[in-house]
């Protein structure tokens, strides 16, 4: 199989999976609940409302017809109206996405920045105290519930050290003193572009604890995986040859092995995305972060059904796309992949 064929195949399977995902979401929305119409109206449904919504949603029609209607709306970007805010779910998602993406990306950036070097060092000093230390730190990272770590960090950095803000995305007064001009929706970038240093510092300080909370799990995961793939690489023939030639150990580890060990680590970043995405739900609740996660949790508790289904679909599509991008990147980096 050549590279082009691989990419086409991968794109094709992604489309199939996306269709499947839409069917799954549809089934969860329409078939799992005992009375879908009641869910759509909310807990205070009256019988006449239920009858009306049953008709409106076409719940009296056969399932395949219902799915066709649902799919048609979906392709026109219609995810329905949120019961909580009475606005289109898609608009809600779009408005809150930048805040969540800023958190998600800085969390994953931290995770890679810390996780990969930890894994590499761990592999280089395999079996040494450093390796054991990294093992314990990474296992602690994947064992700590985000919703608890966030609280501990708040106690320590806000209450005890008075070093970082408790919650929120920016200081409330910033709106009056040095307002952020929104361009990308990423406050860190917006304030940087407009050279609004007061805002930049404030945004950075607010972003710090939520990102660390979000990153903790991924740091552990990435460090473990990087260590494993580094160890595998260090056993390869080309490394042994390099050793035989007397190439220095550091050069072998940081240059020869690391280059090839990064490819499996890329896969982990795809998996990490799934954890980080659901991680933002907890982090946003704890740090009062005005993003998608907070909206999701509010919808889950308020039984805002159209919103829940819209977000689930949106999250799954994002996950499928991330995995697609990771696979394509890998095929581009590593020629052996397309030969499999």
């Amino acid at each position: 199989m050549n590279k082009f064929e691989f990419i086409l195949r991968r794109l094709f399977t992604s489309i199939i999976v996306l269709i499947g995902v839409s069917i799954m979401t549809f089934l969860i929305a329409r078939v799992v609940p005992s009375n879908a119409a009641e869910l759509y109206i909310g807990p205070k449904a009256r019988p006449e409302d239920i009858a009306r919504v049953t008709k409106q949603l076409g719940l009296d029609k056969p399932l395949p017809v219902q799915y066709a209607v649902y799919m048609n709306e979906l392709l026109h970007g219609d995810l329905g109206l949120s019961l909580g805010t009475k606005r289109p779910v898609l608009t809600e998602i779009r408005d809150r996405l930048p805040a969540t993406l800023e958190l998600l990306l800085s969390g994953m950036f931290l995770a890679v920045l810390i996780g990969v070097p930890l894994g590499v060092l761990s592999a280089r000093w395999q079996g040494k105290p450093l390796d054991t230390g990294v093992r314990i730190i990474s296992i602690m990272g994947v064992s700590m519930p985000a919703f608890f770590l966030g609280l501990l960090l708040q106690i320590f950095f806000f209450r005890d050290l008075h070093l970082l803000p408790l919650a929120a995305r920016v200081n409330g007064n910033l709106r009056f003193t040095s307002p952020i001009v929104e361009m990308t929706g990423f406050f860190l970038i917006d304030s940087l572009l407009t050279r609004n240093w007061v805002a930049f510092k404030d945004v950075f300080l607010h972003l710090f604890l939520p990102s660390v909370t979000l990153a903790a799990y991924s740091i552990g995961l990435i460090a473990r995986m990087t260590r494993a793939s580094m160890l595998e690489m260090l056993e390869q023939d080309y490394i042994r040859t390099a050793r035989a030639y007397g190439v220095r150990d550091a050069v072998i580890t940081y240059l020869y092995a690391l280059k090839n060990a990064l490819s499996p680590t890329l896969t982990i970043i795809g998996i990490t995305f799934a954890y980080a995405l659901t991680g933002t739900f907890f982090v946003e609740v704890i740090f009062n972060w005005p993003g998608l996660g907070q909206f999701t949790v509010r919808s889950l508790l308020g039984l805002d059904y159209p919103a829940i289904m819209g977000i689930t679909l949106f999250g799954a599509v994002g996950y499928v796309l991330i995995n697609l991008i990771v696979d394509l990147l890998q095929a581009w980096i590593d020629p052996r992949i397309s030969l499999k």
Partner: protein, 297 residues
């Protein structure tokens, strides 16, 4: 009439042989030994919660407002919450939903996932294709997100959250067992059983599934940590155990408002989750070292 030679093939099962070895490694590694003890201890606490808890009624949810927000003391080592309930008792009683239910979740996920994986790997062809494409669909969702959606579609509650987690976790075991089955299929003892006409169902049940136990066990140990975290997360968001019943995740959430002034309400259940998950992950890590020496040494 000639006697039919007795050709019953004894299934070759390796897991019993390595059990001693596993025990040896665990006993020698202080971290794994400590983890095992912690896990057993917590399971015992969960089972005998009603007998151990100093105030079992408060543990189950009975309020005692005169004790509201008592800081930790000899009588109440973990303090008391807003409604005056002894936090230690609630942590002990809360071990049941927080620890035993996830064990059940993983068990059911294995019971659904493993046979399907063995079937897919053994049969191959369209059966394999069908089963694996279905698992692909489930795995296309971030697991916890899928569980949240299902849990909310079913309505809130502990059993519903547990069911939702089973639905989103079984495909991992199908994938795992299918992979193992593919390699077992080529082994002589399976070929031999096939050659003398042992039925497919018998081969899968007696020859293949028993040999997938060790990889399943490793996976399940690590997964238990993840499922406890997921269950705690659902409870924290209000989708799992409903008040006044206790659950570690729910208790962290209940104490969140007072975290800066009465930190003990959230801290102790939070530590309980962390310690149990840490124990499962440390043990899982050691088990993975033993069973998959290629990847981790």
């Amino acid at each position: 009439m000639t006697a039919i030679p007795d050709l019953t093939i004894e299934p070759e099962v390796q897991s019993t042989r390595t059990f001693r070895h596993v025990l040896n490694v665990i006993v020698r590694d202080p971290l794994s030994l400590a983890s095992t003890i912690v896990i057993i201890l917590f399971i015992l606490i969960a089972i005998f919660a009603k007998q151990i808890a100093p105030y079992p009624l408060e543990g189950a949810g009975k309020t005692n407002v005169s004790n509201s927000m008592l800081p930790p003391s000899w009588e109440h080592p973990f303090g008391a919450d807003k409604l005056g309930r002894d936090v230690l008792s609630r942590v002990i009683v809360g071990a049941q939903p927080a620890l035993i239910i996830p064990i059940g979740v993983v068990l059911f996920a294995v019971l659904i996932g493993a046979p399907l994986g063995a079937l897919a790997g053994y049969k191959g062809g369209w059966v394999d294709e069908l089963i694996m494409r279905i698992t692909d669909l489930f795995l296309a969702f971030p697991s916890l997100l899928l569980a949240m959606a299902i849990a909310s579609a079913l309505g809130r509650g502990l059993e519903k959250a547990a069911f939702a987690l089973v639905i989103s976790w079984w495909p991992w075991y199908t994938r795992l067992v299918r992979g193992v089955t593919l390699s077992l299929k080529e082994r002589y003892f399976v070929e031999a059983a096939k050659a003398i006409g042992v039925r497919d169902s018998v081969i899968i049940l007696r020859h293949i599934l028993p040999n997938t136990i060790s990889p399943i066990l490793v996976q399940a140990t690590v997964d238990l940590g993840t499922v406890i975290l997921a269950m705690g997360g659902l409870a924290f968001l209000g989708l799992g155990t409903q008040p006044p019943s206790p659950d570690w995740g729910l208790m962290v959430s209940e104490g969140r408002t007072y975290i800066l002034t009465q930190g003990w309400i959230s801290t102790f259940p939070g530590i309980a989750i962390f310690v149990v998950v840490l124990a499962f992950n440390l043990l899982g890590d050691t088990l993975r070292d033993i069973f998959d020496p290629r990847q981790y040494r």
